[in-house]
C-alpha cells in the first residue's frame, strides 16, 4: 500500500528547467526532490519538483529570481 500525503508540485516546460530547479534548490538548501509528473496534473510524461506545501513561497521566489520557467504550481496528495 502507498500512503499519500499533501505535496507541493511544481511543473516545468522542459527537463532542462526541472534540472535547473533541482540545482538551485540543492545549492540553497531548499527542500524537495524530482518526481515523475503526476498524471492528475498532466497525462504527458515529464518530471516535477515535489516539496512540502509550507515551502511554496520561497520555492516560487527562487525560481523567479533565477529565471527558471515554471508551467504550474499545484497542491495534491502524492
Amino acid at each position: 500500500m502507498i500512503e499519500k500525503s499533501l505535496k507541493l508540485i511544481i511543473t516545468f516546460p522542459t527537463t532542462t528547467a526541472a534540472i535547473a530547479m533541482e540545482k538551485i534548490c540543492l545549492s540553497n538548501k531548499l527542500p524537495g526532490r524530482l518526481i515523475p509528473l503526476p498524471r492528475e496534473i498532466d497525462s504527458s510524461c515529464g518530471m516535477a519538483w515535489c516539496a512540502p506545501p509550507e515551502n511554496r513561497k520561497e520555492l516560487e521566489q527562487i525560481a523567479k529570481e533565477k529565471e527558471i520557467k515554471i508551467s504550474g504550481v499545484y497542491q495534491l496528495y502524492f
Partner: protein, 378 residues
C-alpha cells in the same frame, strides 16, 4: 539499485564496450578526412562495424548500413526520404512518437495521408487490416517490430508479403528487438530497418542507424561534409555517404562494435532466452496479485522482455516513484512516447508502469521486484 528500464536504455553495458570507447577516444581521428593513420583507423573501425551490423541483421551490403544517432534520426531519415507530398502511408497503433511525429508533420505540411491499423485490447494488430487500407497513392507501410509498451512482437512476414505484392516500401522500427531476438531483414521482408545502439544492442547512446535493402532510394535528410567529392554541389549519391553528412560518432560506434562482438560471442538466442525467462518469472510472480492489471499478450510465442502494469487505481508515476524511493528499483511510468498504444489499451489517462529486463538482470532482481509489487498492492 535494480535497473528495470532497459527498454529506455540499457544501463549496464559489457565491460568491453566501455573499454572500446575509451580506447577510441585517444586513437581515432576523423573518418574519411585525410589519410593519416588515425583517420584511417577511424575509417576501418566504421567499416568493420558496418560489416558486423550487416551480418547481425542480414543486410545484403555493408555499405547499406548507415550510421545515425539513434532510431529517431533513422526513422526521420527513412520517412522523410521516401514519403512525399500527397502520398499515403499505412502505420499502426503500436508506433512510438519517433514514427508518429514525423508522419503527423508530413500530414500537416505535405498533405500526406495516414491510415492506422488498430490494436486490440491486448495490443495485437489485425494483420488483415493492412491490405484493406491500401489506396492508389499508398507509398509505404511503417510498422514497429515490437511495442515498447506491451512487448508484443508483430509477425512482420505477413505484412511484408502484402507490401511486396503492392510494391510498397516496408519500413520497420526494430528499436526494441535489435540485440534482443534474432533478426534478419531479408527473412522479415523489410526494405529498411531502423535501429538504435543503446538499448538491446548494449552499445553507447548516440549510436544507431538503418539498414537498407538494395534498390531502395532514400533522399537525404541532411547534406554537408562527407570528406569526398568536395567540389560537387550535391550530396554524393552512394550509400552510406549519401545519408551520412558530417563527422560520425566513431567513438561511440567503436563501442557499438564491441557490443556486437559481445552479443555474437554470447549468442543472441542465449540472450533472448535469459531475458524472456526473467520476464516470465516476473509475470508469473505478479499476475495473480489482487489489484494488478497487466497489459499485452503473454500467450504469444515470442515477446521482448517487457511487462507493463498498473496497481489498483494508483497513478503510475506514484508507483514508479515508490519503487524508486523505497525499493531502489528503476522503472518507467507514464506514456512511454506511445500515445496510440495507450489509447488502444485504455490507459491514456493513467499511463502504466513498465518493467523491462536485460541480460544483466538476475533472478534475485526479479524476486525482489515481485516482493516490492506485492507490498505495494497489499
Amino acid at each position: 539499485m535494480i535497473y528495470l528500464d532497459n527498454a529506455a536504455t540499457t544501463l549496464h553495458k559489457p565491460r568491453q564496450v566501455i573499454e572500446a570507447v575509451v580506447e577510441a577516444m585517444s586513437t581515432l581521428g576523423n573518418s574519411s578526412r585525410g589519410l593519416s593513420s588515425c583517420s584511417l583507423k577511424a575509417s576501418r573501425t566504421l567499416y568493420e562495424t558496418r560489416v558486423k551490423i550487416s551480418e547481425l541483421f542480414g543486410c545484403p551490403r555493408a555499405d547499406n548500413v548507415i550510421f545515425l544517432q539513434n532510431s529517431t534520426e533513422a526513422l526521420n531519415t527513412a520517412i522523410n526520404g521516401t514519403v512525399f507530398s500527397k502520398d499515403h502511408v499505412i502505420t499502426t497503433d503500436l508506433e512510438h512518437n519517433s514514427v508518429l511525429r514525423p508522419l503527423y508533420r508530413l500530414k500537416k505540411e505535405k498533405d500526406v495521408e495516414l491510415s492506422f491499423v488498430p490494436a486490440d485490447s491486448k495490443g495485437n494488430l489485425s494483420l488483415e487490416s493492412f491490405e484493406k487500407l491500401i489506396k492508389h497513392n499508398t507509398k509505404a507501410i511503417i510498422c514497429n517490430h515490437a511495442s515498447n509498451l506491451t512487448g508484443n512482437i508483430v509477425d512482420l512476414s505477413k505484412i511484408s508479403t502484402i507490401a511486396r505484392r503492392h510494391g510498397l516500401i516496408f519500413i520497420v522500427d526494430v528499436s526494441q528487438t535489435a540485440g534482443c531476438i534474432p533478426l534478419n531483414m531479408e527473412e522479415i521482408g523489410a526494405d529498411i530497418i531502423c535501429f538504435t545502439g543503446h538499448k538491446g544492442l548494449m552499445g553507447p547512446q548516440g549510436t544507431g542507424g538503418m539498414c537498407i535493402r538494395e534498390g531502395i532510394d532514400i533522399k537525404p535528410l541532411k547534406v554537408g561534409g562527407t570528406g569526398v567529392k568536395s567540389y560537387s554541389t550535391d550530396q554524393p549519391k552512394e550509400y552510406p555517404t549519401r545519408l551520412e553528412a558530417g563527422t560520425l560518432n566513431s567513438h561511440g560506434i567503436a563501442g557499438l562494435s564491441a557490443a556486437i562482438d559481445f552479443i555474437q560471442s554470447t549468442g543472441i538466442n542465449i540472450i533472448s532466452q535469459k531475458e524472456t525467462r526473467l520476464m516470465n518469472i516476473f509475470y508469473e510472480g505478479i499476475k495473480d496479485i489482487k489489484g494488478i492489471e497487466i497489459y499485452g499478450d503473454f500467450s504469444l510465442l515470442q515477446r521482448v522482455a517487457i511487462v507493463a502494469l498498473n496497481i489498483h487505481d494508483y497513478d503510475s508515476a506514484l508507483v514508479s516513484d515508490t519503487l524508486s524511493e523505497k525499493y531502489k528499483i528503476a522503472t518507467r511510468p507514464g506514456a512511454h512516447c506511445a500515445p496510440r498504444m495507450h489509447q488502444a489499451l485504455g490507459t491514456e489517462n493513467r499511463g502504466a508502469v513498465r518493467f523491462s529486463f536485460s541480460w544483466f538482470n538476475s533472478d534475485e532482481d526479479v524476486k525482489r521486484t515481485i516482493q516490492a509489487v506485492k507490498e505495494i498492492a497489499l
